[in-house]
Amino acid sequence: MNKSESYELAGWVVARARKAGADDVAVNIARSRNIEIGCRERQVETLKESTQNSLSLSLYVGNRYSGHSTNDIRREGLESFVTEAVAMTKYLNEDPYRTLPDPKYYAGRESLDLHMFDPAYDSLTSDERVAIARRIEDAALAESERIISCTSSFSDSFFETVKVHSNGFEGDRMGTSFSIGAEATVRDDSGSRPEDWDWRTVRFRKNLPAAKVVGKLAVQRALRKLGQTKLESGRYDMLIENRAGSRLLRALIGPMSGRSLQQKSSFLDDKLGQRIGSDKLTIIDDPFIDFGLGSKLFDGEGMSTKRRVMVDKGVLKSFYIDTYYGKKLGMEPTTGSTTNLVLDKGDKSLDEMIEGMQRGILVTTFIGGNSNSTTGDFSYGIMGVLIENGRAVKPVNEMNISGNLSELWNQLVMVGNDEYMYSAWRRPSMYFKDVHFSGV
């Protein structure tokens, strides 16, 4: 189904829903194609390829609300699907806060080319995909005699979505992404088999790093874990490597949502305009980054996106408020979800920050753990490296960090210049003072 057919189908569904008794309706039609190739033991181990469709609709029926989705988009079936969905909605309680966004929030959509779709996508051949995956594996296998198993992969995807609302919104987007990666397990003399990975995702194929870089790095990272031990419990400085930083960030971003605030499950409630972290913490939500993995001109509700400062030098400036919780809270909607997050950078590289560390732990991996969004209490498992006098001393594992997020973000004393580019959340390495680690 091409784009104009999707628009036609979306319009047809809107009309059917209205005929069945809906006051308003939002329809989203998505199509995607995914290809994945994995290599192991110098063979193609997996080859996956498929195309899929989905149609979802939100119904607003006499102040009642429901959402539905199906992957069977044949009209003969959709007709009764829509009719039954509308009929079912009438059994729910009325909720006056449930509406489509005010159309004024659809206005002002930027007309930018965000470079989401790589024109080179269509010319990529199966043989090229396999060749790249093989090069990654070759580079990895050449790196060490200790490798027990190494899997390399190349995957790419194409998506196109069309969105139509009964109160005037129409929009579509199309994009591609390419990922390469490797994961390696190595033999430790103790019988342990440490593993690590390297994985990069980009919008345009030309922005992928060289295959051999990824293969080598996955193995080197696994080798760095040989001889891991746990240290004594106590307070240590903590340096979080850029790629590992998303778990802590998520614990901060989640409680910024309108739902968390309205449901009284956010430790950031009442903190707007107040300090929630040190002056090293600045977070921008920027939907307009060229080639950005989270770039978009309109959000999931059709509202035009804007660049927003979420945290400015430690002061909380904004929340993620969608239409529904905005109405419940009596707040202006912003957007319900993140686009690209960009953290302010510092001027030192990771290596320079390590050199400046007296005694602390470089965290390279989080394992498990969670945070309590209502209180900000957290506890996470970690793996990493003990640093003493600016040098890596030994690999560390089986330790937990614990504390409260309100305190932790105030302990952020330095950020690196090494923005992680392979995620919609672009974060540098982060240096925290005096964190509780538990081990022996």
Binding site: Q52, D72, R74, E84, S192
Partner: protein, 514 residues
């Protein structure tokens, strides 16, 4: 109504046990391919009719899948319907439904896999997907089976009425009652949310070794969360119950249990402290604490990891790994449990598999590929998230069998440690064996007695090491109603856990340092 089996149930479905006047969303299903009410009698013929395919067409698709050779191919047809109704701020004010239909086609050549799926069940679309999957193989041509044979399987989740026949009007009162009970239980409660979900999955698995099997898999869960306020502080917690049950599972007693447990676990957090971090004795409460087994040993025993020698348990089969009173199983046959399956997603019968018997490591968990690699029978662990995914060895219900000790005796034996009761999540690195699970609530144990509540700490250990430190096992095995959802390589499947009260002599607990 007498309890009826899966096969009977489908018969009842066609007889129209419909609540008059209420639209049964997606009852029968809205898909044009199945204009007639599906599943008139519930045998294979009815499943084929449900998907509007014939045995001849399936064998034709297999021919296309084996056109470039290969050792094996299979087709996984799935039609899944799921519903959620939710309550927030005292209103049942949202409902969601999803319908998913498709067939996944897999070709295996050695241990190499080609995979494709289609959402369109026409012969043309299925053959196109088969030809894509066939690209993994590259020598000659293999023959499809002459005939597909089905065999009888037991039914571990009989239910009285299918979810497709339960209208939303019958679910709404449960949400309202539960919400009222939560607020009536404790006046510190300020917010409550309730989610009621159910799902139904029809599946057919046909494989080129001539087997064909079908199953009907129901599932439900009610989850309640609440937030309480006291002296300007807030705490939140929740509880859930469910499994492969029908509507009648949610008795008034179950609704009471949901409300009282969710509220107790929430308000207790006001008294809770963070323990001092470090290594200590940990007593695990029955039921949900089985998450320890899932992370500490279960994943490491999934045979794909061992086939690739990336698990810390590789080459430990037949060796002692725990005290002789420790036996651990992964079981797909527990009645109506969340992780139970009649057949796995490769068509193999489910079973109870011993990972550890009397302290000795006994068996990995196998899918088709690993069973062939090791030359053993499949254990019924080949599972997948949906027709979009290739199967892998996955757990079902993982639990430890009862041991020689008593619950009270175990607690009394601890001078300083913790009693771990409820958990939210866990993770494992199967090569190094490091695993964690996050303790949402529990108690300190001081001088043989449970004292203050504790909250929000991560527990981290090493799988093989912790197994050797299971020093006491009580006789009070409980399985967890509700269970969890396990993620591996991006695929999510329902599982559950179980455990008697046990004591681990030393494990690292997160917390503040003195």
């Amino acid at each position: 109504m007498a309890q009826i089996t899966r096969r009977d149930f489908v018969k009842a479905g066609a007889m129209g046990l419909v609540v008059a006047g209420v639209p049964m969303i997606f009852k029968g299903n809205p898909l044009a391919a199945f204009a007639a009410p599906p599943l008139a009698s519930g045998n294979l013929e009815e499943y084929l009719k449900h998907f509007a395919v014939s045995e001849v067409e399936i064998r034709d698709v297999m021919s296309a899948a084996l056109a470039h050779g290969g050792d094996y191919c299979d087709l996984f047809f799935q039609h899944a319907i799921s519903n959620t109704v939710a309550l927030e701020d005292h209103l049942v004010n949202r409902a969601y439904t999803n319908v998913d239909l498709g067939v996944g086609i897999r070709v295996i050549d050695g241990d190499r896999v080609g995979y494709s799926f289609t959402e369109e069940l026409t012969p043309k679309a299925m053959k196109l997907a088969a030809r894509t999957a066939a690209n993994i193989a590259g020598r000659g041509q293999a023959a499809p089976p002459q005939k597909l044979v089905t065999s009888n399987v037991p039914n571990y989740y009989p239910i009285n009425i299918s979810w497709e026949e339960v209208g939303i009007d019958r679910k709404i009162p449960h949400l309202q009652t539960l919400n009222e009970k939560v607020f009536a239980t404790d006046k510190r409660i300020v917010k409550s949310q309730v989610y009621f979900t159910d799902s139904t999955s029809y599946m057919i698995v046909a494989s080129s070794d001539g087997r064909i099997a079908c199953d009907y898999q129901p599932m439900t869960r009610v989850f309640v969360s609440c937030t309480a306020e006291q002296n300007g502080r807030r705490e939140e917690n929740g509880y859930n119950l469910g499994g492969r049950h029908g509507m009648d599972y949610f008795s008034p007693e179950k609704i009471d249990l949901l409300a009282s447990t969710a509220v107790r676990r929430t308000v207790e957090l006001f008294e809770a402290v963070k323990p001092e971090g470090g290594e200590m004795e940990v007593v695990l409460a029955p039921a949900q604490s089985g998450i320890l087994l899932h992370e500490a040993i279960g994943h490491g025993m999934e045979a794909d990891f061992n086939r690739k020698e990336t698990s810390i348990f590789s080459d430990k089969i037949g060796r002692p790994v725990a005290e002789s009173f420790v036996s651990i199983v992964d079981d797909g046959t527990n009645p109506n449990m969340r992780g139970s399956i009649n057949i796995d997603d490769e068509g193999n019968q489910s079973e109870k598999t011993y990972l550890v018997r009397n302290g000795i490591l006994e068996s990995y968990l196998h899918d088709h590929i690993s069973a062939k690699h090791y030359g053993v029978n499949p254990t019924g662990n080949g599972r997948r998230q949906s027709f979009r995914h290739q199967p892998m060895p996955r757990m079902r219900n993982t639990y430890m069998l009862p041991g020689p000790h008593k619950h009270d005796e175990i607690i009394q034996s601890v001078k300083k440690g913790i009693y771990a009761e409820s958990f939210t999540n866990g993770e494992v690195h199967i090569g190094a064996g490091d695993f964690t699970f996050y303790l949402k609530s529990g108690y300190l144990i001081e001088n043989g007695r449970k004292t203050r509540p504790i909250k929000d700490v991560n527990i981290i250990g090493n799988g093989p090491d912790v197994l050797t430190k299971v020093v006491m096992v009580a006789d009070n095995l409980e399985l967890m109603e509700g269970g969890g959802t396990c993620g591996k390589n991006g695929q999510w499947v329902p599982v559950s856990f179980g455990l008697p009260t046990i004591k681990v002599s030393s494990i690292t607990v997160g917390g503040v340092s003195s």
